[in-house]
Structure formats: C-alpha cells, structure tokens
Symmetry: C2
Subunit: 152 residues, 2 copies
C-alpha cells in the first residue's frame, strides 16, 4: 500500500490491513480456505496478472500467513498452505461473506454457502463476549485505547 | 478500486471488498464504531487528506453504510451515523482487531481493548455453526458454490 504506512498507526485494524488489506490479498486467502494450494489454481480463480499474484503470495509467505512447501522434486514444484496464523484469519473472511451475502447478493442468492462438516448447518460469524459468552453488537461494546488516546 | 471490478466477481467477499476494501474505508468505520460522527473527528483521527476522507464518507453514504444527517441548522452542520447495514460490519472490524492483537501487537500489548458493557469481558469474534452452535475453524467448514463453480 502506498502513502502513510498503516503499520505505523497505533491500531490493530490498521496493522492487519497493512498486510491483508492489499487489493486481491483477501481473495487469495479466500481461495486458500477453499482448498487451493498451487499457483495455477489461484491463477485460474483470480482475474489478475501472474506477477501480481506472485507478489501477493510472496507477501503472505513473508508474513507467515502462507507457507511455501515443495511437494515434488522433479520437476521442483511448490504449493502454498495456510499456517496457524493464516487460519486465524478465517473469521475475517467469513464475516465478509456473511455481510456480502446479506446485503450484496444478487437475485441468484448468495454465491457461496459455507457448511459445518459435522452437522451441515450454515456457518456465520458473531462478535462474542469472552467473559459471559453473549453475542455482542456494536452497541453492547466499549473500545478503550490502552496507551495512546488517538492514532498518531 | 481500479482494474477488474470486484463487484463483478461471483463472490460475496469480492463484492464486500469492492465497497469496504478501499484504503482507509475500514478505518473510517472503525472510528464510527468508536463513536465518531463528525467530519472533523474523523479527520483528526486519520492521517489522510480531507478530500480522500470526504470521498470515503461519500462512498459509504452512497452504499447505505453511513447516513448523513443534519444536526444543526445555523450554521448547517452534518454528522455521519452508522446504519443497520453499517453496524452489521462490526464482526469484520472485531475480527481484524482480534487477529491484529494476536499477531501484530508490539511490546506495549494490544492498543485497543474492546469490552462488553454489561459484564466487562473482552469482546472477540468466532465463526459459528448456525445449526448446532459450535465454534468453527476453517477445517470444520466446507464452502460450496451455489451457481458457478469458479469466479469469472
């Protein structure tokens, strides 16, 4: 991203977006969560230039979100797999799916259904209180800055 | 965003990012969730040019995520308030906070604590099964495209 480095802002949202907020990066991750691992699979799924895709994958590997593994020796072939740090982005993706499904789906309905493998239920995402377990809306919550009162 | 319109892709993540994925937009929303309403409040919080901020606010109003309301007649003054559609983006923001806190916080610890007003517990976000209520990881879920098998 250009301009002010989001990572310099005293904010976890800004720091997270500095890594995953680049155009296409969250769609690369969406594909990774769908089971795609190989460059050609990502390339077929995403309408972007190969050098842009290569750059996004490189950034994700550098930040430990994807791991690049050799899966064949001759010829040498590599695949990209989600790390634990990468898998922990799952709620971000599902939250975007849920909101997009609710407000932006066309007449054909939501394009992607996410199911729980065990029971077949739909998967969604909630903000929850780690104390009492209640589902939380923005009105129920209070954000407190620990150190600096603002950003800069 | 430039290039291929994300909104044309058959994917709720892509469509959502076409609106909220622009640089700074999610930080404007973060501020709105923190209670900021006036142009000057956003402007003081975010290190961006006023015309860029104005453009982001305009986009959010056009998409019904923020509502522009006059709160004073003389002189005419306006504020920006989250709509229901906007408030439903809360899990996206909290999911980014949670991931950033876990992996990107510096030595000072997470910059922002989000508390449940009622019980004082920390607020987080989980992917959950709407059927059985279980908390879901990416491994537990299966995404099925309803119409088109791919994107384009």
């Amino acid at each position: 991203m250009r301009g002010v480095a989001l990572s310099d802002l005293h904010c976890s949202v800004a720091r997270a977006l500095d890594i995953v907020g680049e155009r296409w990066t969250l769609l690369v991750l969406r594909d990774a969560f769908q089971g795609k691992r190989r460059f050609e699979e990502f390339s077929q799924s995403l309408p972007i230039a190969r050098n842009v895709l290569a750059s996004r994958l490189k950034t994700l590997v550098e930040h430990g979100i994807l791991e690049r593994r050799q899966y064949e020796e001759r010829p040498p072939r590599f695949e990209y797999r989600l790390t634990d740090k990468g898998r922990d982005l799952y709620p971000v993706i599902v939250a975007l799916v849920q909101w997009g499904d609710r407000y932006l789906a066309g007449e054909a309905g939501p394009p992607l259904d996410i199911f729980h493998r065990d029971c077949g239920g739909h998967v969604g995402v909630d903000a929850v209180c780690r104390g009492c377990g209640e589902v939380i809306s923005a009105r129920d919550a209070n954000g407190v800055y620990r150190a600096l009162p603002g950003l800069a």
